[in-house]
Amino acid sequence: MMMNEGTPAISIDRLTKRYGQTLAVESLSLSVPQGTIFGLLGTNGAGKTTTFKCMLGLARPSEGSVSFEGRPLTPPLFERLAYVPEKCALYEWMTGAQLLEMQRRSFSRYDDKRANELMDLFALDRKKKLGKFSKGQQTAMALVLAFSIHPEILVLDEPAAGLDPVHQRHVLDLIIGESAGGATVVFSSHQIGQVERAAERVAIMHQGTLRLAGEVEQLKSDLKVVEATFDTDAPSLNGLSAEPSVGQIQRAGRLVRVYVKGNGDEIARKIGDMHPRSVRILDQNLEDIFLTTVGSSGSAMAADVAGASGR
């Protein structure tokens, strides 16, 4: 039963999905190592939900393939895989208790004690019909069902959408707890702060393609901004753009910002030789990295990093 350590829990190989003329996902390759929390970031329409659907066999890839633990997806895998879709898919006419019963009968790993703890954690009424729940409660119910089967692989599409801040934190705690217990978690979220806390690895998608992937801490260490101010208009830094570590260069009057890969020391020193008034190396948090990556330009460097830390 023990998997080879190197076998990724999920690996997506050149996945392409077209809906008619629309290219929803284009040649996406990703691999999610076992036991990690993997955050998928992207603006609306970036292709995250389509990626999840193709992963789980809910939609057929136009090209490419997905494998779990090195094998294609088959129904028995769902015994230990839980999926919480972005839009609640549960039956409105069923009560909380009936939904739990449905889960109990479908999954041999279902744990009633755990399910009841989770119902209490999210303050859900077992006797109430799902249709009478608020949007947030419906999401919480779907999460209860997902976590009640002690899944080894969790796929969560916007799991905290519509939840209040306290319950959002519960969701993060659950994700972190399952992962610490060995589960692999893939989740998407618009709340970059959540991904930044919980995820060990992230992938940033934009317009159907992968723009950046890697370890969060590594990306933070590797992506810096060198900011310099000059007494007069900033000099042309065209010489710098040839440097392999330099990505986007932004100039605004006396200020110049250079997005670099690596710690930025060398670029800072080079700019220092041009007699600036000041030079600073700025850290980038995940939000900065995300915005730079999906921004109109500057993704060349990002893609480069993706290549370097991909697999």
């Binding site: 129904p75 895998l77 839980a82 006419w93 069923m94 449905m102 479908s106």
Partner: protein, 262 residues
């Protein structure tokens, strides 16, 4: 999905029971207020209720009832596919489970209608009108399969739709009834009449007509005065044709369901 489908099926039966009970109460109240209760006149010896006629009505009512069962795959497509398709069961297994549960529901609905009839007959004390012709068993075979064929064709028609399936079921009814009328109508010139007759082979409702003559009286149920081409077949042949429709409907439904994307 057996649990969910069973809940859904029982819920349907609950509503059917409520409708039947309300109908019974209404009829009894109206009859009682006109002084009919238990006083149906005995004079006309030729009046009779052949048992297969009751089966035919039961089958028709069950067809109405299973219009909603037949749309189960389609109603799962109203946003529930991510739940249905992420269980450790293949789509084939899921479909077979649904069909199995619904089958029990259809048999129960059929039985409930017969029970309602029995209660009416008892209430109005008319058991002595009920006759059992020699082909009653074969007729029963045909009528018990009819709702299954109807169910499967509704499934075939709606399996790849979402809420649009609701409208389709309505149109299916309109189409089936209209086709039956066209096929039975003596005013249609012949090339067309023959075409309608052949197409009517696919119409599960067409297999429901029952007609018999006893003495000078002709009894027609679900068919109109002119028997359809199809109903002219022996009941066993009808049952076989209905079974083929059932199998074909399920297969078509399943093929669509397996190709469907959430």
């Amino acid at each position: 999905m057996r649990y969910t489908q069973t809940l859904r099926m029982l819920n349907g039966l609950k509503w059917l029971a409520i409708v039947f009970a309300a109908f019974y109460a209404l009829v009894v109240i109206i009859a009682a207020s006109n002084g009919f209760l238990g006083h149906i006149p005995h004079g006309d010896k030729k009046f009779e209720i052949p048992l297969p006629a009751l089966f035919a009505l039961a089958a028709f009512v069950t067809c109405i009832f299973c219009s909603s069962y037949g749309r189960t795959l389609s109603s799962e497509n109203e946003d529930h596919l991510p739940v249905v398709w992420t269980r450790p069961k293949s789509r084939l297994q899921t479909t077979l489970t649904i069909v199995g549960v619904d089958s029990l529901g259809m048999l129960a609905a059929f039985a409930m209608y017969l029970l309602l009839t029995a209660v009416f007959i008892t209430t109005f004390q008319v058991w002595h009108y009920v006759t059992v012709p020699s082909d009653a068993l074969a007729q029963f075979g045909r009528y018990i399969v009819q709702p299954f064929a109807f169910y499967a064709l509704v499934m075939a028609l709606t399996a790849s739709t979402g809420c649009a399936g609701r409208g389709l079921v309505g149109w299916f009814w309109v189409g089936a009834i209209f086709l039956g009328i066209l096929a039975a109508s003596p005013f249609i010139p012949n090339p067309w009449h023959a075409i309608f007759n052949y197409v009517n082979f696919l119409n599960p409702l067409a297999y429901g007509s029952y007609h018999t003559t006893s003495g000078t009286e002709t009894i027609n149920v679900m068919g109109g005065p002119t028997p359809t081409y199809v109903a002219g077949l022996a009941p066993v042949m009808d049952a076989a044709a209905l079974l083929i429709l059932f199998a074909a409907g399920l297969t078509l439904g399943l093929i669509q369901w397996r190709r469907l994307e959430a």
